[in-house]
Symmetry: C2
């Protein structure tokens, strides 16, 4: 059994990006600049945005954190996005979700310039992804592809089962695993809340990608021998023995499933760290595209 | 066993559209106007475009056929598309595929104004579809949804297996059947040329949608009792007994599979006629959107 070590691989990727940025600096070029918009004071969101900004520093990117109060109106947020769209210095930006109730999330995501949409959430980018065109792939699915690639996990002709059909993980993942190329060329089954006989389906899978947010959902008896297990679940489970009062738990009963798996991601330290690394990679990509555009 | 009668349903839909157009005319409004661009003299393409134009007449739409020579350059075609994008009188248009070798198909599809893209092939529309937003759904998948809906075929919690991952049928179909709502909420497996053990997979399916173009591929022993069978295959098989020298054959061994199926589409007369009906429906939709936009 091999652990798919997201922490290690994400550090490798960050080192590679750092080296790229160093070269940019040496050539006297502008370095990538990522902005993050945070509306309100949600604890988890603060943590996520905080580590995104910190990661920018780690690789030598410029970063800007735009903090807006919880009472921000939709129009105010849209105006801020328009400003970021037009700011030549910003290569890419993200709007941290979820947003307060008074703001229509879809309207906001639609307002982001697709060329700066490093989260890959804009329908234009999502459609390009689904139609095999080059684009920004959403960070979490992109991170999973990268893990599979760097560990040389065979995906062609394998049966991949994706659990959960969210816009940011399950659905794009199901599309990506069935595309041509590597990683890809899998037979893909997408399951969700209406799926019956889930155990029958997961038991046939060569690769299982679970993004449910339901701690210890995937048990050993649901998995066949030598399956590849990717756990995208991140749930805070109360735990008095931990200093923060909780621990992070995935969708997989790691202790027992890992005994059967050929490859498996731990939680934490698997998919999680990859997500930020791929956001940085998308930002680097955005910078390169903007440079090429300006040169044309 | 019930035949999913695409010919009958498509005529119903055309009657419904005709009634809508009549109302538009009575109110003194502009009626929908579809344009079709045909490059070259491919026999099948001529037939397809011809029946699209004829269908426009049938429902009272205006139509324009733009015929360009086989030697048309990419730039000439892009200029023609720009012209159609800017023509206020045209509500929607299609570019008949395939295009001659000197023209990059992707570049052409990207040039179509998404608001006039009644084929639903533009990444913006494809992405909206995949993200559950309202948009133009590609005509063939849209036609299949409509058939399932009008015959009240239950899809929720069913296992749908899609065979073939083309951009215009297999991939969008796999996405649509897994979306929320009806028809949808299926557990969906997308299979393709790299899929192993296809029989094992189809044998478990409640609904099979095959879009391979491989005559009589799906045999009775690959199908479980009471399965729903949707045949998107259209292959011309040489047949001296027919006046045209060929007959149209689907992917399904209809004679034997129909004995086990609960619902099944014939070929011809199943999905085929639905495709044109849904193109008309998309054009009507485009007209309504343009009117609402102008009124705003």
């Amino acid at each position: 059994m091999t652990i798919l070590d997201g922490k290690k691989i994400s550090n490798q990727i960050k080192d590679e990006i750092t080296a790229e940025v160093d070269k940019m600096r040496e050539r006297g070029e502008k370095v990538p600049h990522l902005a993050a918009v945070l509306v309100g004071n949600d604890g988890a969101s603060l943590t996520y945005v905080g580590s995104k900004v910190k990661s920018c520093e780690r690789v030598g990117f410029e970063s800007t954190l735009v903090k807006l109060p919880n009472t921000t109106s939709e129009l105010e947020l849209l105006n801020k996005i328009e400003e970021l769209n037009n700011d030549e210095d910003i290569d890419g930006f993200i709007v941290q979700l979820p947003l307060p109730d008074q703001i229509d999330e879809q309207k906001v995501l639609m307002a982001v310039d697709p060329d700066k949409d490093v989260d890959g959430f804009h329908p234009m980018n999502f459609g390009k992804m689904a139609l095999d065109m080059s684009t920004f792939i959403p960070a979490t699915p992109f991170g999973i592809l990268e893990l599979l690639e760097r560990y040389g996990v065979e995906t062609k002709g394998k049966h991949t089962v994706v659990i959960g059909r969210s816009h940011i993980v399950g659905r794009p993942m199901s599309i990506l695993m069935g595309r041509k190329g590597f990683p890809g060329n899998s037979t893909v089954t997408l399951t969700h809340s209406h799926t019956k006989n889930i155990t029958q389906i997961t038991s046939q899978a060569d690769i299982i990608i679970t993004a449910l947010g339901s701690p210890n959902f995937l048990k050993a008896e649901m998995v066949k021998d030598d399956a590849v297990i990717i756990d995208v679940g991140i749930t805070r489970v109360p735990d008095e023995d931990r200093p923060k009062g909780y621990r992070i738990t995935g969708d997989v009963d790691f202790e027992n499933v890992s005994k059967k798996a050929s490859f498996i991601t731990p939680v934490p330290g698997g998919v999680g760290p990859m997500t930020i690394a791929m956001l940085l990679k998308n930002t680097l990509l955005a910078r390169e595209r903007h440079r090429n555009k300006t040169e044309l």
